[in-house]
Structure formats: C-alpha cells, structure tokens
C-alpha cells in the first residue's frame, strides 16, 4: 500500500532521511519509532507529499507520489497531527466535514457522515455544534481522528497523535484507536517515540535513528531479536518497559497438561522470571539460532529445573502488549 524505495531527504546540509526502504501492507498499522530528530516525521510527510524526497521513490497504492497531484493525493489520505490543528473558527461538524465539502458532498450527507464519525470516535452528537476551544485536548484529538476518517480514505497518516494529551487519556485514546482500527482496517502509518504505544498498536514497527532504519520487524522481533545495540538500548531505556519487571512468567504461562520436555524445547525461561528477564534470557538463547519466531514453544522451569508449564514467543509478546495496555500509565507508576 505504501512503499519507500531508497528514499533520501536532504534539508540544506542535513540528511534528515537517508536511504530508507520499507513497506506498509494493506490493513496494517505500521509504527515509525525513534528518538526525536531521527527523521520519522519527515518520512511520514513524504507519503502525502508535504515533503518531497530528494532521491528515491515513495509509492502509494503502487504509484510514485511525485507523479500524482498533491492536492488529490492528500484528499485520499487521512492526516492526524500531534497539535491536532482543528480549525478554530469552525464548529466540530464543519471541521469533520471540511474534506467532504472540498469533495462537494451535499449538506445532508455531510451531516449524516459527521454524526456517524462522532459516534465512532466516542463523542456525543451534541458536540457537532461546539467549537474546538470548548473541547478538552483528548476530545479535540478525537475530532481530529474523525476528520481524518471523513472521506473514508484507505490510508491514514498519524504523527504522534496522542503526544499532547495527558497519560491517562492517551492510553484511552490508544485503546480506542485499536478498537476503531479493528473495525475499519485502514492502512495506517503511525509516528511515535513512545515504545509502549508502538507495542500496543503496531502490527509492524520500523525503528529509525539518524535518518536511517535500524530495524524493521514485528514487536516480537524487536523484543526478542534487537538488530543492534541501539535498538536493544532504545527498548531497555524505555521507561514504559519497567512494567514488564513486575509481571512474572508464571502469570502468563500455560500450566500445560502435557508438559514438554526440556529437550524438545530449545528455549526455556524460569517461572519466577519477570517478563523483562524472560525476554532477555530468550534473546540470548536466540542469538545465533536461525528460526522463525511463530509458535515456538518455550518451556517454563521452576527453581529446581523441572518443567512446570509452557508458553510461546507469541504468548509472551502478547503479554507484553497487554501489560502496556492494562497497566494504565506506566510512565507515572515508574
């Protein structure tokens, strides 16, 4: 759906984006993550031609964006930004339906669509006639999301959409996005610097640093097989990951009836390991082993070394994501 082919963007003497190649498949939520200034926002903005590549190609639905009219291209791509950017002189309804007006929908259809979208993002219908300044930050961003969805674009770009709201509301909005995404299945490119957000939402995570991609993979890959020191440190330093230190493997394992023998499983963790330690342990066991990560059984051992249950990589990673989702606000707890 979206493909980057060796894309480079130079601003003056700075290579903001350097030889970036990756793709986002249809219906997938791809997270671009990295420290500030790593080029992730510039990368996102090249999709709808708010920034034009210096070299390389960006393909949207198979077509080089430089061959498309930017105005039309943008109307077919939803766009949500951190500062929301609602039009302060327009009501919520007018804000949501701006693109529909550009597309010349008639007033009644626009109204109906606005009502539908407001419900989808979880706001009451009487909000239609309010002005943005009468809304809280979280409510404004819900309107921002509704506005991006208005013309039912199949692609949505989100640039740190929940970065400016407080942590509790942020978690709520993330979970709602997950719910909305499950319902509407858009192709989403999502920029963030918050690792827990990336794990919670991403089907696929692209880690960037200094304009380059340092790792492109699933959340599992990132946790269990960090491509290099940078990714490992980025993950370890994420304060959100602290939540993983309090959950134990014993809480997520399956006390299997047919316990696998240690010999059958190449991989093992201890039941008293925290999720964080389990990931580290598995990471070191994986080093040098070439195998897929899907459905690999992991034996869970007790103190004495006897098998007390089993789990899989997938299960562990799901537990990680759930830990983020249900933990409320990791940043505050820690």
């Amino acid at each position: 759906m979206i493909e980057f082919e060796a894309v480079t963007k130079v601003f003056g003497s700075i290579r903001a984006v350097d030889q970036v190649s990756f793709q986002v498949r249809r219906g997938e939520l791809c997270v671009l993550i990295g420290p500030s200034g790593c080029g992730k926002t510039t990368t996102l903005r090249m999709v709808n031609r708010l920034v034009e590549p210096t070299a390389g190609r960006v393909l949207v639905r198979g077509v080089d964006v430089m061959r498309l009219d930017p105005v039309h291209l943008r109307r077919e791509i939803g766009y949500v930004i951190q500062q929301v950017g609602l039009f302060p002189h327009m009501t919520v309804e007018e804000n949501i339906t701006v693109v529909l007006r550009l597309l010349e929908w008639d007033a009644r259809r626009r109204r109906a669509r606005a009502e539908e979208l407001l419900e989808l993002v979880g706001l009451p219908p009487d909000f239609l006639s309010r002005y943005p300044r009468q809304l809280s930050g979280g409510q404004q961003q819900r309107v921002g999301v509704a506005r991006a969805l208005a013309a039912d674009p199949d692609i949505i770009l989100m640039d740190e959409p929940f970065g400016a709201v407080d942590p509790i509301i942020r978690r709520q909005l993330q979970l709602e996005l997950k719910r909305i995404q499950a319902a509407v299945r858009k192709t989403i490119l999502f920029v963030t610097h918050d690792l827990s957000e990336a794990f919670l939402l991403g089907d696929h995570i692209v880690v960037m640093n200094e304009g380059r991609i340092v790792q492109d993979g699933t959340p599992q890959d990132l946790l269990l097989r960090p491509a290099n020191e940078f990714v490992a440190r980025f993950i370890a330093e994420s304060r959100a990951l602290g939540i993983l230190r309090v959950r134990k493997v014993s809480e997520v394992m399956d006390p299997a009836l047919t316990k696998p023998s240690v010999a059958d499983c190449k991989f093992w963790v201890r039941s008293e390991d925290s999720l964080f330690d389990a990931i580290r342990r598995l990471g070191s066991q994986l080093a040098g082993v070439l195998c897929g990560l899907e459905e690999r059984t992991v034996a869970v051992l007790d103190e004495s070394g006897s098998v007390v249950g089993c789990t899989t990589f997938e299960e562990l990673v799901r537990a990680v994501s759930e830990a983020f989702a249900t933990s409320g606000v990791p940043e505050v707890i820690l």
Binding site: N48, L50, V71, R74, Y79, Q83, G85, L102
Partner: protein, 205 residues
Amino acid sequence: MIMRFIIPSLGTVIELTWQHVRIVTAAVLLAVLVGVPLGILIHRARFLAVPILSGAGVLYTIPSLALFAILIPIMGLGMKPAVTALVLYSLLVIIRNTAAGLHNVPPEVIDAARGMGMSSLQQLWYVELPLALPVILAGIRVATVMNVGIAAVAVYIGAGGLGELIFRGLASLNMGSLLTGTVAVTALALMADLGLARVEAALRR
C-alpha cells in the same frame, strides 16, 4: 480681531458629514481592495515584504498637505485626489495588518489544511483569511479613524466634507463654524472607531 459665533445650519452639517463619510468610505474600500491582496502577496512571497512595506511607509510619512499638492497637477481638484491620498495613507496599516494576521495563523492549522488536501487558494479562503480577519479589521479600523481626520484637510483641494466648516471658521473668524466642524469630525471618528471595534469583537467572539 473679533471672533464671531454663528453656528451653521443643521442641513449644512448633515450634508458635509455625508460628503465626509463618502470620501472616507470610498478611500477605505479602495485601500482594502489594494492593500489586502498586497498583504497576502508579501505573506506568501516574503522577499517582497521589505520593498512593499517601505514603499507604503514612505507614502505614510508624506505630510497630507504636501501629498495633496503633489496630486493636484496629476488629478486636478475635488474628490478624486482626496480619495487617492487617503488610499495611499491607508495602505501601510492595511498591508501590514493583513500580513501580520496571516502570519499569526497557527502553523499546525496550516499543516492540517494542507495535509487534508486544500489547494493554496482554498487554504487562503477557508482557513487563513477567516482567522486573520480580526487583525485585518483592526487595521481597517485604524485606517478609517485616521482618514476621518485627514479628510478634514482635503477641503483645501476642494473635496468638501466637514473640513469645510473648519476652513470657513478659520477664514471668517467664526468660532461657531470652527467648533461645529471640529466636534463633528471628532464624533465621526469616534463613531467609526466604536462601530468597527464592535464588529471586530464580534468576529473574535
């Protein structure tokens, strides 16, 4: 020297006030027609800002009598040169406020407008101008009030208006005429100021 005190008839005052209002209104409307596009231009093409603003700035500093004198050989006497002079005086504040108003539109709002697929003109029409309107209007208000004052001098080139009362009062040593003219000009300026302030406040909400 004996000062007289003959108050001019109400009919005369109304007629001259109407003339005055016409001169000022025509001048402000023309100045908006010229100044707002120029303000948009310098907002979009920044390199033009210095030459255009300095040009308008120079016009602004020419004393009104001198400007009228310059315009007479070109346009003759009457309302035309008067309106022209007032337009030239108004340009600076209108251009500057238009550019300032556009400049104050939050960048994220512009980014959102572009990102959702508004063309450059649509951005201007649906987003930038509406948001800049209060500041543009503030400029129009300053220009209007200023013009009410300067238009009083335009009587020297035969444009009529309330300046006539002041001029006649001075010439014939009639304090009544002089004061009536002065009070009328002041009242007109205040009314214009308050009226436009109301509109501005309504827009800011």
